[in-house]
């Protein structure tokens, strides 16, 4: 520490988030010599982001509305610890104009865009208008919200079924419904409004054409405060279940260099149109050589690591640099292929959330594997927050090697205590459409996941031999156990194995 280090870009950064993304941000801050302040709800007192931060402060009870969404409390903590910057992560307050404004009012640097850019891009109706003006192609649809059922039905017929209903305030796949037939339109609209009101406190929903065999392809951009906007190519995020991304990759297997350049330029034009600053992602639907603007996410994406691995950059570092007024770096030449797999606590067949306490954990490692995880032994997975617990990201020389590496890494993963989405991802990576690159957002709907016969046989044998060993041990030990309450074979096996270790 005696070699005079450069003064850090900020003195102390409050990370207004939880889980893997809070850790992710803190890691870069630490590398930049910036102190970190974690905030936590009572459910997260022992979370890694709390334990790894320089300072930590409680916000309130577990529900987000009483903790991670409390702008007042967060700014109070920022003031108490004399923070000069705040990173919002993704979700929670990251795309709330009010929060950006409150930070500005408190003279704390928000690692993100201006309140105005957040407002424009956060309202999907306004965003489409801006995009249209900037010459970014749109999916045919309505630019304004339509509330009247009869008018809505008429417009939907005009555009042609299937159509989509999207919450104006939604994002990340949340608040989207597809309607196949006219008869389903009005009930679906009501359900979408209810969901939107519950999730975002804003029930506006708009209508657009449902593009068939669509791929979800997005462009990562970075803008500085001097008007420079650069892009880091694309990410393909078409492997989705329940409209939530599960596997992402970069580059997209079917994009030509010409289309990549065209999409990148369109994304940069949109960012420039709203005086954007910081990291942002412009999401497109891609179908048969055409691309359509979907939305712009005015924050870091969950899947940003695939871009980081291909370009060899640290996007959070870039976010912090441009927030401090430095010039955005010119993206280096990307190389190889990266794949991210989200590890969600959910039942692999129903996609229902899976709750429990993590009792055992083994994360993948080795060449080309990056782990971004909030998991620790003893973690209780509660229903309060998102079910995504970790991301396994791999990088390799080409797409085929990256698929093999991702599969290998997922096979090494052990998360015991909850079910995870890992088997679904393994099956998706092994599927013909994914391997050939010829897939779209419906990949997982068509996927018939089958547990391999060998796994079923081995599981059966293992369960049977455990019972046999229990009975055997009980027999051998019956004299010793003598008096007292009778032990179940399972208790016995457990106790005896603790002493022995090896069974033969």
């Amino acid at each position: 520490m005696t070699a005079a280090p450069k003064p850090p870009l900020f003195r102390r950064l409050l990370v207004a988030n939880r889980g893997e993304i809070a850790l992710r941000v803190m890691r870069t801050a630490q590398e930049l010599g910036i102190e970190t302040v974690a905030v936590y709800s009572d459910a997260d007192r022992n979370a890694l982001h709390v334990r790894r931060a320089t300072h930590s402060a409680r916000l309130g009870p577990p529900p987000p509305a009483e903790s991670y969404l409390r702008v007042d409390k967060i700014l109070e903590v920022a003031a108490q610890f004399e923070c000069d910057a705040v990173h919002p992560g993704y979700g929670f307050l990251s795309e709330k104009e009010e929060f950006a404004q409150a930070c500005a009012d408190a003279e704390i640097a928000l690692i993100g865009p201006s309140p105005n850019a957040i407002r424009l891009m956060g309202d999907k109706v306004a965003a489409r208008r801006v995009a249209d003006e900037a010459g970014v192609p749109l999916v045919p649809g309505l630019k304004d919200e339509v509330k009247d059922p009869a008018e809505l039905a008429g417009k939907a017929k005009e555009i042609g079924f299937p159509v989509m209903l999207k919450a104006a305030a939604g994002g990340g796949g949340k608040g989207i419904r597809i309607v196949e037939r006219e008869a389903d339109l009005i009930p679906a609209m009501e359900m979408a409004r209810n969901e939107a009101r519950g999730a975002f406190g804003d029930d506006r929903v708009y209508l657009e054409k449902y593009v068939e065999q669509p791929r979800h392809v997005e462009i990562q951009i970075m803008a500085d405060s001097h008007g420079k906007v650069v892009h880091y190519g694309e990410r393909e995020c078409s492997v989705q279940r329940r409209h939530q991304k599960l596997v992402e990759e970069s580059p997209c297997a079917v994009l030509t260099p010409e289309l990549r350049a065209e999409m990148g330029e369109a994304a940069c034009r949109l960012a420039a149109a709203v005086d954007y600053r910081g990291a942002g992602t412009v999401e497109f639907l891609y179908s048969k050589g055409q691309f359509y603007f979907l939305e712009m996410n005015t924050r870091l994406q969950v899947e940003h690591p695939v871009t980081e691995m291909c370009y060899g950059v640290d996007l959070v570092r870039e976010q912090i640099r441009v927030a401090a007024g430095l010039e955005a770096m010119d993206p280096p030449t990307p190389h190889g292929h990266a794949i991210e797999v989200r590890i969600n606590a959910e039942e692999p067949d129903t996609f229902f959330p899976s709750l429990g306490t993590i009792s055992r954990l083994n994360m993948p490692g080795g060449p080309g594997v990056r782990i971004d995880s909030a998991l620790y032994r003893g973690l209780e997975v509660t229903p309060h927050y998102d079910s995504m617990l970790a991301k396994v990201v791999v990088h390799a020389g080409d797409r085929e090697q990256a698929i093999a590496r991702a599969t290998r890494a997922l096979r090494e993963l052990r998360v015991i205590g909850v079910s995870t989405s890992a088997p679904v991802a393994i099956a998706a990576l092994a599927s013909d459409p994914f391997r050939t690159g010829d897939y779209d957002t419906s990949l997982l709907q068509h996927q018939q996941r089958q547990v391999p016969e060998e796994v079923l046989e081995v599981a059966s044998l293992a369960a049977a031999v455990a019972k046999f060993r229990g009975a055997e041990r009980l027999g051998n030990a019956s004299a010793a156990a003598a008096a007292g309450t009778p032990l179940s074979p399972w208790t016995m096996i457990d106790r005896l194995e603790r002493l022995g270790g090896r069974l033969r």
């Binding site: 709750l355 998102d386 369960a463």
Partner: protein, 173 residues
Amino acid sequence: MNYFTRLDGVEREFRFERRGGQLLAHCGDRTHVLELSMVGDGTAFSLLIDGRSHDLVLELEDGGSVVQLRGERLRVEVLDERERAAAAVAGSRAAGPQQICAVMPGVVVEVNVAAGDQVEEGQTVVVLEAMKMQNPLQAEGPGVVSKVAVSKGQAVAGGEVLLEIEAPDEEPA
């Protein structure tokens, strides 16, 4: 003593034997050499079957085990000969009504049926909101709603029975 396992609807029969310091498993006409070693605290095991290596976690439950293996989590029923015979004697058709349960704690945002309603397989009967998602719960088979235990807006615990569906007495034509 033979052991019977049931997994994914398939029954398998095993017999184990110690011979010359080895643990053998017989299954049909196949015989395997087993080597089972506990890792750490007693739920993780390394099992070698004829040298083939399997890394597994085995949690014991009533009537079987939950086995975790290569990313899969499988509930295996295990009965020994005696237990199976006893089960066969007791085993009448004790199949009760179909129960729609809350898979996790949440809030009921919709109840689409009332007692006495006829439902089809796959029909959404209740929508449960949890972890920011609306989860539609579907009937697993056709029948008549015999009981509705919850109403819209009600908070429910994980595993709570939300409604019950009686199967039709006869197979419909």
